[in-house]
C-alpha cells in the first residue's frame, strides 16, 4: 500500500487530531465550492452545499476506504447533496427561473447585445444549467474540474463507457442549447 498524503491525514484525524482535517478543507475547498456553484449556479447554495459536504465527510470519515482517493469520495458526497438539493428545489426553481428571466429581460439588454467573452461565458453558463443533472455533472467534472475519466467513474459510480457517454451527450446537448440561445456552439 502506498498511501497518499490525504489518507495519512485521514488517519491522523481518526486518531483524534480533528484540526488535521483543516488541511483537507484548505486543499479541496476551492474545487468543491466551484463544483457546487456550477451545479447550482447560486453562490449561497454552493457555499452551503460544499461546507456541508466537508462536515458530512468528517462525520463519516470512519467509513472512508483508505485505498480510495479522498477527493473522489468527497466529490461524491458533494454531488449527492447537490442532487438532493436541486431535486427538492426543482419546482420552486422552475417558477423562480421564469420570473427571473422576465425580470432580467426587462432590466438588462438581450444576450446578443453583449459582446465578446462575456457573451460566450453567459451562453456557456446558461447551456450548462439547461443540461439534465447527470450530464451536467459529467461535463463539469470533465472540463471544469478537469478530472480524468477514471476519476469520473469513481465519483459517479458508473462505468468508463457510461462516463464517456455522459460527457459526449452533455456536450451535444450544450451545443444545441447554445444554438437555441443564438450563440456559436
Amino acid at each position: 500500500m502506498n498511501p497518499t498524503r490525504d489518507a495519512l491525514i485521514v488517519e491522523d484525524v481518526l486518531a483524534g487530531d480533528k484540526e488535521a482535517f483543516g488541511s483537507l478543507v484548505h486543499r479541496y475547498k476551492k474545487p468543491l465550492y466551484n463544483l457546487a456553484y456550477r451545479m447550482t449556479s447560486n453562490r449561497e447554495d454552493a457555499l452551503d452545499l460544499s461546507q456541508e459536504a466537508f462536515v458530512r465527510a468528517y462525520a463519516n470519515l470512519h467509513r472512508f476506504d483508505l485505498k480510495r482517493s479522498f477527493f473522489t469520495w468527497l466529490y461524491t458526497i458533494c454531488l449527492n447533496l447537490t442532487r438532493n438539493h436541486l431535486e427538492k428545489k426543482r419546482e420552486t426553481l422552475l417558477d423562480q427561473t421564469e420570473t427571473l428571466e422576465r425580470q432580467v429581460r426587462s432590466a438588462f439588454p438581450p444576450a446578443d447585445e453583449l459582446v465578446g467573452k462575456k457573451q460566450v461565458t453567459a451562453n456557456l453558463e446558461k447551456a450548462l444549467q439547461r443540461l439534465p443533472l447527470d450530464l451536467r455533472e459529467a461535463v463539469i467534472l470533465r472540463y471544469l474540474q478537469e478530472l480524468s475519466f477514471e476519476e469520473i467513474t469513481q465519483v459517479l459510480g458508473i462505468s468508463l463507457s457510461a462516463a464517456k457517454m455522459r460527457v459526449y451527450r452533455g456536450l451535444e446537448k450544450a451545443r444545441e442549447a447554445i444554438a437555441e440561445l443564438g450563440g456559436k456552439p
Binding site: V25, A46, Q51, R56, I77, T121, S159, R169
Partner: protein, 229 residues
C-alpha cells in the same frame, strides 16, 4: 428502459444510479440495438472538443476567506458515538510519534533503569539478553532556494505530510531556506510546502508520482532495501 437502484452514500444522502452502460443514453432514449453503446469519444468530434475547451476556460470562483474556519467550527462540534469510536480504535492503524524532548526524557529514564537494574539483570541466568544497538539517526538538512518565498515548510512521510509543521528558515536572507531534521534509517517521500503550494525538490536523486501530477522526492537513509520506482 433503465434499471435503477438506490445508492446510499456514506454521507447519508440517497442518489440514484442507472445501469446505463448497456442501455440508457442519458436522455431516456434506449438505443435501437439495445446492447452496448458505442464508444463516445469527444476527441473524434472537433466541434465538441472545442466546446469542451470553452467550458474548461470558464473562470473559477474563490471561496470566501472564512470557508475553512466555518467548516472547522462545525467539525469541532461533531461528536462521534461510542460504537463509532470503538470501531475506529479497533480498525484504524495508529502511529506513535515521539518528539526530541520526549525521546531525550525516555533515554534518560532508560539509562537510569539500566544503571539501577542492570547488575541485577546480569545475575539472571537467562536474562542476559544484550541490549540492541540504539537505532542510528541521521541529521538531514533540507534546502530550498526561492528568494521570493514568504514561508517554506518541509513535509513528508516522516511527519505524516503535515504541511506546516516543520518550517525552513532563511537565516541569511538570501533566499536559501534550510531545516535540519533528525531521521532514522528508512525510505521517505517529501515535498516542500511553499506559500501554500506543494513544490517538488528538483535536486532529489529519486522521485515517486504523488497521484496529483507532481513528483514526491524520495530520500533513502541507511540500509533500507525498500524498492524505489
Amino acid at each position: 428502459m433503465s434499471s435503477e437502484k438506490t445508492n446510499r452514500d456514506p454521507s447519508g444522502t440517497i442518489s440514484t444510479l442507472r445501469s446505463e452502460e448497456t442501455l440508457d443514453r442519458g436522455d431516456g432514449i434506449v438505443p435501437a440495438h439495445g446492447g452496448r453503446t458505442p464508444d463516445h469519444d469527444v476527441d473524434e468530434d472537433p466541434a465538441l472538443a472545442s466546446l469542451g475547451e470553452m467550458f474548461r476556460s470558464l473562470d473559477d470562483l474563490e471561496p470566501p476567506e472564512e470557508f475553512t474556519s466555518h467548516v472547522m467550527t462545525r467539525v469541532r462540534e461533531v461528536q462521534r458515538s461510542l460504537p463509532v469510536r470503538l470501531w475506529i480504535a479497533l480498525t484504524r492503524p495508529r502511529t506513535i510519534r515521539v518528539n526530541l524532548a520526549q525521546a531525550f526524557a525516555g533515554a534518560c529514564i532508560a539509562m537510569v533503569l539500566l544503571l539501577v537494574a542492570g547488575p541485577a539483570l546480569q545475575r539472571v541466568p537467562f536474562g542476559g539478553v544484550p541490549a540492541s544497538k540504539p537505532a542510528k539517526e541521521y541529521l538531514v538538512q533540507f534546502t530550498y532556494r526561492d528568494p521570493g518565498a514568504a514561508a517554506v515548510y518541509i513535509a513528508g512521510t516522516f511527519n505524516q505530510w503535515k504541511p506546516e509543521e516543520i518550517p525552513l528558515a532563511d537565516v541569511s536572507g538570501n533566499g536559501v531556506w534550510t531545516a535540519t531534521v533528525p531521521l532514522k534509517p528508512d525510505v521517505y517521500e517529501y515535498m516542500f510546502y511553499v506559500d501554500g503550494h506543494w513544490k517538488s525538490d528538483d535536486r532529489a536523486a529519486y522521485y515517486k508520482d504523488d497521484g496529483f501530477g507532481r513528483k514526491n522526492a524520495v530520500l533513502r537513509l541507511g540500509n533500507s532495501h525498500e524498492a524505489l520506482s
